[in-house]
């Protein structure tokens, strides 16, 4: 990101397009620089957009599909490389902050479980951003390592003991009905906020 204040202006112009031309009833606060940083360190964000207002709830529907769309477009407007996309982050009514807490909790549960069993643990499929947040949440556990497996919307994080030999492969498509259930329903912190329990298959 070449110039932070320039980038923040572009993001502000994008949000204003939504609220003026797009007619969306949103209140917004844009923070850039140190004030935007993620206190949990799961995102490396430089620009943080917090949305509220009458139309904010529809951005968090379908597991935050609208927020992911805004983040993706904003990252593209800023010409960020894919691995830099978490430098810009959108939230609405604290939805993502809550998801981040859930992810941290499921990361902690999974770490405990892998240490107990000495077996890999597969998280449910998640969006690229949430997978990155999991990698970040577990990056300091030197006795464990994370990798992603599977393709596209079914891509998921696997947590391994650091010295584990072998790789957990994605279940075949026909196995999907059983996917997740057989894993004891753990790691599914998103079950709290009723109606948006499922993970982001539709990213």
């Amino acid at each position: 990101m070449e110039d932070l204040s320039q980038a923040a202006k572009k993001v502000a112009a994008f949000v204003q397009t939504l609220t003026t031309t797009g007619g969306m009833r949103l209140k917004y606060r844009i923070t850039a620089g140190a004030g935007a940083s993620d206190p949990d360190g799961l995102e490396r964000r430089d620009i943080y957009v917090e949305l509220a207002g009458p139309d904010a709830p529809q951005l968090t529907e379908r597991n935050g599909e609208g927020l992911r769309a805004l983040e993706h477009i904003a990252a593209k407007i800023l010409r960020l490389e894919p691995e830099e996309h978490d430098r810009i982050s959108f939230d609405a009514n604290g939805f993502k902050a809550e998801r981040a807490r859930d992810l941290r909790e499921s990361a902690e549960d999974a770490a405990e479980r892998v240490r107990e069993t000495n077996r890999p643990y597969s998280f449910p499929p998640m969006s690229s951003r949430e997978r990155r947040m999991l990698h970040m949440a577990l990056s300091e556990q030197t006795d464990l390592r994370t990798e992603s497996s599977g393709e596209g919307r079914d891509r998921f994080v696997v947590l391994y003991p650091a010295d584990y030999q072998g790789t957990v492969r994605a279940p075949r498509r026909d196995d999907r009905a059983g996917f997740g259930r057989g894993r004891g329903g753990r790691g599914g912190g998103g079950r709290s906020g009723g109606g948006r329990g499922g993970y982001g298959r539709r990213y």
Binding site: M24, Q58, G66, A69, I73, K76
Partner: protein, 100 residues
């Protein structure tokens, strides 16, 4: 789309057309070449987005993710308008249609 007729956009249709236009202009390298036409088709408004040949990838994105994000935003903005909108990204030299 044989029934489609060119329409003169007004009100909400004009707003959604401009929404796509403004966002697309921010995404591409040649904003002056972004055009959005509107077609009425079976009760829905089809927004046809055209960009410079070298910019097509910028509005579609890897695995169609940018196009999908644009459609999600269009859907969110048009939700309360009681009118259906669709977004077509027109690729010149190929059959027009949904690129996803």
């Amino acid at each position: 789309m044989s029934q489609a007729v060119q329409s003169e956009p007004t009100g909400p249709v004009e707003n959604m057309r401009n929404l796509v236009l403004e966002i697309a202009r921010a995404l591409v390298d040649k904003p002056d070449e972004v055009v959005v036409d509107t077609l009425e088709d079976d009760g829905a408004t089809v927004l046809q987005l055209r960009v410079a040949v070298g910019d097509v990838g910028k509005v579609i994105g890897k695995q169609g993710r940018t196009a999908r994000s644009l459609r999600t935003i269009l859907g969110a903005a048009s939700m309360k308008l009681q009118h259906r909108f669709a977004l077509d990204i027109v690729e010149e030299d190929e059959d027009e249609g949904d690129v996803e």
